[in-house]
């Protein structure tokens, strides 16, 4: 005799609603608290201690010694949150953002602090230094 033990379950399930989330038409499944999404970098808060460079397993960070900041390419990030835990000033934070598909791996949304922005910060810092010297 052929045994079909799943048949009653299948017939029962035919009269139930689908348990799916039709994503583009609806909101995605909400993220839980403490979700590890894309990194958010606050350049002002950064003091250039290089802890994130030491701790990152994926080579996301590059230290820029002339302005004492770091540049990020989150295209390589593995979302381990170690840089966030180690950052002493809270300049790095995890966001809820997880829809990160892109056509270009060097897309602007993956990069914090481009060379042009670094130049700008350098100029600003030099101006600040001059102002300080004048006031003294």
């Amino acid at each position: 005799m052929i045994r079909l033990p799943l048949l009653p379950t299948v017939i029962k399930n035919l009269f139930k609603r689908p348990a799916t989330n039709p994503f583009p038409k609806t909101e995605p499944v909400p993220t839980p608290e403490g979700f590890r999404g894309k990194i958010v970098y606050n350049v002002e808060k950064c003091v250039g201690c290089r802890m994130c460079v030491t701790v990152c397993p994926a080579g996301v960070f590059i230290y820029l010694p002339e302005i004492r900041k770091v540049t990020l390419w989150t295209g390589r990030c593995v979302f381990c949150k170690q840089c966030v835990d180690v950052c002493p000033t809270g300049a790095l934070q995890m966001s809820d953002e997880f829809l990160l598909a892109s056509y270009d791996k060097y897309d602007g949304k993956f990069i914090y602090l481009t060379p042009e922005e670094a130049e700008e910060i350098k100029k600003k810092q030099e101006e600040l230094k001059k102002a300080k010297k004048k006031s003294q």
Binding site: W73, I111, P115
Partner: protein, 174 residues
């Protein structure tokens, strides 16, 4: 606990009085026997282990480059019919100018896989191994380069590839 270690230690001292034996204990009270065997006695020692406990379990063979020498250690588990078994590490060192060891795959058949790995990764030659093909490295990998060596026979600088960071790429004007 600890009686089994005594049995093994006494057996080793009876048969190999001049072999270096240490017992270390970790902070959770787990004991492990570390044995340093000269390579002349390596095969004899493994045979002795098999005679001591027929069900001796070969866990892993570890090869490493220890500067002056190449080390090959084997982790055995003995008398494991009641928990905890006797954990034991048998270590041999071979000089770099003559890196040969006797093959033990007729005593512990699984050791052949670890020997093949050791042959390609640090270049220890196991004399009499029935199979000397490569195990993990691709076929087009150059001969005479051993990836886990720290010296000039290790991977040369030009074989190391880095996919690059966009900040550095832009700086160079690419």
């Amino acid at each position: 606990m600890g009686e089994k270690e005594e049995i093994v230690l006494n057996a080793i001292r009876d048969r190999f009085p001049d072999v270096e034996v240490n017992v270390k204990e970790n902070k959770w009270g787990r004991k492990r026997i570390w044995v340093n065997v000269p390579r002349e006695k390596f095969r004899e020692f493994i045979k002795f282990l098999k005679e001591l406990d027929e069900d001796a379990h070969y866990s892993i063979g570890i090869e490493e480059d220890a500067g002056e020498t190449l080390d090959f250690s084997i982790h055995f588990l003995l008398f494991y019919d009641t928990s905890p078994g006797v954990s034991m590490i048998v270590k041999t060192s071979v000089p770099k100018n003559d890196p040969t060891l006797p093959d033990i795959s007729d005593i512990f058949p699984i050791s052949l896989q670890f020997e093949r790995e050791a042959m390609e990764m640090v270049g220890i030659d196991f004399k009499g191994a029935p199979d000397k093909r490569r195990l993990f490295l691709p076929d087009d990998f150059p001969e005479g380069i051993y990836p886990l060596r720290h010296d000039e026979k290790g991977i040369p600088e030009n074989m190391v590839k880095n996919a690059g960071h966009p900040y550095l790429l832009r700086r160079e004007g690419k």
